[in-house]
C-alpha cells in the first residue's frame, strides 16, 4: 500500500511521462543528439574526404575554377557522423535539429548546400582557396615568426617558393622590396 502511494504521489507531482510532441514542443532532446548536418563555409577546403567516407554517398563536391560547391542531401544522409569524424578542418557538424519530416514535393530540396568562392593568389594571381586562419595557426604553431596574413593568400607553389627563400636566408617576396629600400639607403 505504501509503495503504491509513493508511485501515486510521484505521478501527481511529475505529471505524465509522455512527451508532449507533436501537440507541444518536445521535452526530450539528448545533449549529443545527431540531427541535421551543417557545413561551415568559412572552414570547408573542398578536400572531399567527407564524400570519400560517406557511406550513403550523400555528399557531393563540385569544383570549378572559381570555387567549389558542397552539397549534402539529407534524404540520403544516415547521420553516422563519419564526415564530422574525418573532416580535417572541422567544417562539418551535426546540429540537434531532428525535424526531418517533409512532403514528397520537397524531396530534392532538403539539402545543405554551400558555395565557396576562391580568391586570387597575392603573388601569381592563380585562383586559390585561402587557408582559414585557425588552420594556419595549427600548421604554423612552431613557426611563430611567419606572417599568417601574408601566407594565407599565397597559392601552394608561391608558398613553397617563399619557404625556400626563407630557409636560404633570403627575404620573402613581400619583404624584398622593403629590404632593398633599406639597403639602398645604407649604401
Amino acid at each position: 500500500m505504501a509503495a503504491f502511494l509513493k508511485v501515486l504521489f510521484r505521478n501527481l507531482l511529475e505529471g505524465p511521462s509522455t512527451d508532449p510532441f507533436p501537440l507541444a514542443p518536445t521535452k526530450m532532446e539528448p545533449e549529443r543528439l545527431r540531427g541535421r548536418v551543417v557545413v561551415d563555409e568559412k572552414l570547408c577546403m573542398g578536400c572531399g574526404i567527407c564524400s570519400h567516407y560517406c557511406v550513403a554517398g550523400a555528399i557531393n563536391i563540385q569544383h570549378t575554377d572559381d570555387g567549389h560547391t558542397i552539397t549534402i542531401w539529407h534524404n540520403a544522409c544516415c547521420r553516422c557522423a563519419a564526415c564530422r569524424q574525418y573532416c580535417p578542418v572541422g567544417a562539418i557538424s551535426l546540429i540537434k535539429d531532428w525535424h526531418s519530416a517533409h512532403e514528397e514535393a520537397d524531396k530534392y530540396k532538403v539539402v545543405e548546400q554551400k558555395a565557396i568562392a576562391y580568391e586570387p593568389c597575392s603573388v601569381c594571381g592563380k585562383k586559390i582557396r585561402p587557408v582559414p586562419t585557425q588552420i594556419l595557426k595549427k600548421l604554423y604553431v612552431n613557426n611563430t615568426d611567419i606572417d599568417l596574413e601574408h601566407v594565407q593568400h599565397l597559392c601552394p607553389a608561391c608558398r613553397q617558393l617563399e619557404d625556400a627563400r626563407r630557409s636560404a636566408g633570403l627575404p620573402a617576396a613581400a619583404e624584398k622590396a622593403a629590404v632593398e629600400q633599406t639597403t639602398d639607403a645604407n649604401a
Binding site: L23, C78, S100
Partner: protein, 149 residues
C-alpha cells in the same frame, strides 16, 4: 450534412496505421513500434493505432530499401489498401536507397513505383520525427478527403 461527409469527418479522427517492411534492417520498425507501444511517444494520442490487415489501413508506413526479393509483395500489399491512403516513407532507405543505394539487390527508391506523400529521413528517424510525419500525413489525408484545402 450528408452521411458521407459525416463519415469522413469522423474517420479522420482515427487514422489507422499499417506497416510494410520492404526489406528493412528492422531499425526503423523498432522506432515505429516505439512510437506506438511505449507511453513516452504514444502515437495513439492522435487517434492512430496499428492494424493487422492492409484493408483497414489509412496511413501506410513503409520501411526498407525495397529489395528485389520483396518488391512484388510490397506492391501487392500496397494495392490492397483502399484509397484514399497516405504513404509515408520512413527512413532514408525507401526515400533514396540510403546506404544500399545502387546495390544489386535493391529495386528502390520507393517513389519509382508508389506515389509517396511524406518522407521522414533518418537512420532510423527519431520517434518524434515519425510522429511529426504521421501528423503531416494526417493533414494530407484530410486534403485527399476534401475536408481541408
Amino acid at each position: 450534412m450528408d452521411f458521407d461527409k459525416l463519415l469522413k469527418k469522423n474517420s479522420v479522427r482515427s487514422p489507422w496505421l499499417f506497416r510494410i517492411n520492404a526489406g528493412s534492417c528492422n531499425g526503423c520498425d523498432v522506432e515505429l513500434a516505439t512510437t506506438a507501444l511505449i507511453p513516452r511517444y504514444d502515437v495513439e494520442r492522435l487517434g492512430c493505432r496499428y492494424c493487422g490487415s492492409p484493408r483497414h489501413a489509412d496511413i501506410v508506413l513503409i520501411t526498407g530499401p525495397l529489395t528485389a526479393r520483396i518488391h512484388d509483395q510490397v506492391l501487392r500489399v500496397w494495392n490492397e489498401i483502399p484509397e484514399p491512403k497516405v504513404t509515408v516513407a520512413v527512413g532514408i532507405c525507401p526515400i533514396s536507397g540510403g546506404v544500399f543505394r545502387e546495390g544489386y539487390s535493391i529495386t528502390g527508391p520507393l517513389d519509382k513505383y508508389i506515389p509517396v506523400d511524406v518522407n521522414v529521413p533518418g537512420c532510423p528517424p527519431r520517434p518524434q520525427a515519425i510522429l511529426e510525419a504521421v501528423a503531416l500525413g494526417l493533414k494530407i489525408w484530410k486534403q485527399k478527403l476534401g475536408l481541408e484545402a
